[in-house]
Symmetry: C2
């Protein structure tokens, strides 16, 4: 029941600590025989090298921080899966942090990481705040950062995004082709990276098809689902749009709910298309047309970029920007 560490184990084996250490680190300068003897006794005595002590020496944590606005969100859940799968093949583990779109939390957590806590960071930012100095200090500490989906343009770091502008343009155009004349654009924050780009795609598609632009049709929503349903019920009855382009999945569901309560038939009275990574959209009533991002693949690419710099310090990926394509799935909600 005595504490077991490399020293006690070495004593039990009548060996030095260095030899024991070697047995665990794939060293070559150790006889196969002693190595096996060590490992066998170690297993028996239930010994494993202390990760924190090793890290203190090596400055290698084998750990990645993943920072996302939400977890209970199909897009991020799938992206995390992608990150995890790549991390796994590299023997890395994941420290997960959720910001709830709260900028202060993001800052606090990044600062916390700013001391060798992890080898790298993959994040999708909250999009709030303007002062991104807290991220710059990571650079000094040589902690590589990769952004995915939601990025800060003013920070030089590797980025993985989808072609949101093009998809938004295409989705809006699709609604226009289906006969919509008054299309609402639902956003959560039209000033941050994705909200901005997606709104722009919407605006430009209208312009291209000479549909008059009505500022009021860009509807700013919140992260509170109940509030959104009320807001949308209000706007839908007042502004009477015949189409909805939703830049975020949750707003599409709020629209479904609002339309249901207003007895507004989708797609007859209101056609809808939305960004969404939900895997069961076809089971909805009606099946929802979606712009679907390759969430899993984005996670994979982000992790790959990170490991490239991690494993080859010469590579500077900070100017790399991987752009993946989303897919348009047209279903009943916009037919």
């Amino acid at each position: 029941m005595d504490k077991i560490n490399i020293k006690t184990l070495a004593r039990e084996l009548n060996l030095s600590t260095s030899t024991v250490s070697r047995a665990f680190n794939g060293a070559t300068d150790i006889s196969q025989q002693t190595k096996e003897r060590i490992l066998s006794v170690a297993r028996e005595r239930n010994y494993l090298p202390n990760h924190y002590a090793s890290n203190l020496r090596d400055k290698k944590t084998q750990t990645l921080a993943v920072i996302v606005p939400e977890i209970a969100n199909d897009f991020f859940a799938q992206a995390i899966n992608g990150i995890e799968d790549v991390a796994r093949t590299h023997g890395f583990y994941i420290l997960l942090y959720r910001t709830d779109d709260n900028f202060d939390r993001e800052v606090a957590f990044v600062n916390y990481l700013n001391n060798g806590k992890v080898d790298g960071i993959i994040m999708s930012v909250s999009g709030e705040g303007n002062d991104h100095r807290y991220l710059k200090t990571l650079e000094q500490k040589k902690v590589p950062v990769v952004f995915f989906d939601r990025v800060y343009e003013d920070i030089e770091a590797a980025k993985v995004t989808t072609n949101d502008y093009k998809s938004s343009f295409a989705a809006t155009q699709h609604l226009i082709e289906k006969g919509c004349k008054r299309i609402a654009c639902l956003v959560i924050n039209k000033t941050i990276s994705i909200g901005k780009t997606r709104t722009q795609g919407y605006i430009d598609a209208l312009k291209r098809h000479q549909i008059p632009f009505d500022e009021r049709l860009i509807i700013d929503c919140s992260v509170n689902d109940k509030e959104n349903v009320e807001l949308l019920k209000n706007r839908l009855s007042q502004l009477k749009p015949d189409g909805v382009f939703s830049s975020v999945q949750r707003l599409a569901f709020a629209t479904y709910q609002a339309a249901y309560e207003l007895k507004l038939n989708i797609p007859k009275k209101l056609k809808l298309i939305s960004f969404s990574s939900l895997q069961i959209t076809p089971l909805l009533n009606p099946p929802m047309s979606t712009i679907t991002q390759p969430a899993y693949q984005m996670g994979v690419e982000a992790a790959k970029l990170l490991f490239e710099t991690l494993e080859n310090k010469d590579i500077d990926n900070r100017k790399k920007h991987v752009v993946l394509n989303s897919s348009l799935f047209i279903r009943k909600s916009s037919e």
Copy 2:
């Protein structure tokens, strides 16, 4: 650009490392004045105590491991949110690991944690395998474990579950009351904790209502959605059940899909109720009747149990078993 640590910082301040250390650890035996001076320079020079060095001394990691079968799953995503919220209030962080229901991964990860890597573990088990010795060794190392939802009965550890038996019984009974005579029971693994309990509730409800039991109606599915749809199409046409009790969310969706492809109307030809934590079930076609577990709350309770033992080593929670109630939501799919 020189390395910054407590030593260099102390030198710059003309102080000793002890004093600097005190400034960061809420010590009382330090003058407010020097403390402020230290913290100010630290901020300026971007110094933060090294977490790994601190841990090496203290044996406190401020980190929790959370092990789940899946992440892209509404139940687990919400449970993780609950765990994270509690962890956050205690200043703890989360090391997340997904097993994909793979027993070997579960064993490998738990073994990896077996060296002071984290202060505690919250897990929902894969349910595979019989040899749970790898968990026993955690006990020796005093790493507390809390199970939630999917537990190993033979391991003495704190547990948080829902009353699955009762809910399953009630759900099956509900179908019977709606007139179903041949009710299928969909499970993924009828031998593990939750599969077993939920199946038993189903069986007992049949018995109670003197509905003949047909072994073939207990349908063993897999984690592969496509396979499940095929399997279910096959079984639904052959066995012609008039009701489905699905013990897992994903199997309900596979049933929706299969029924759709077979042009089998839900609920007219087939009534369905399922365990599910999906938040938009009312938007499905048809809206799905569910047994909904308090996922978020389960995460909260699990974390609370863990912190109880963590913060008071005298408390032995290993015999505690918190049972929460699920809620039955009856919607169109079973009306």
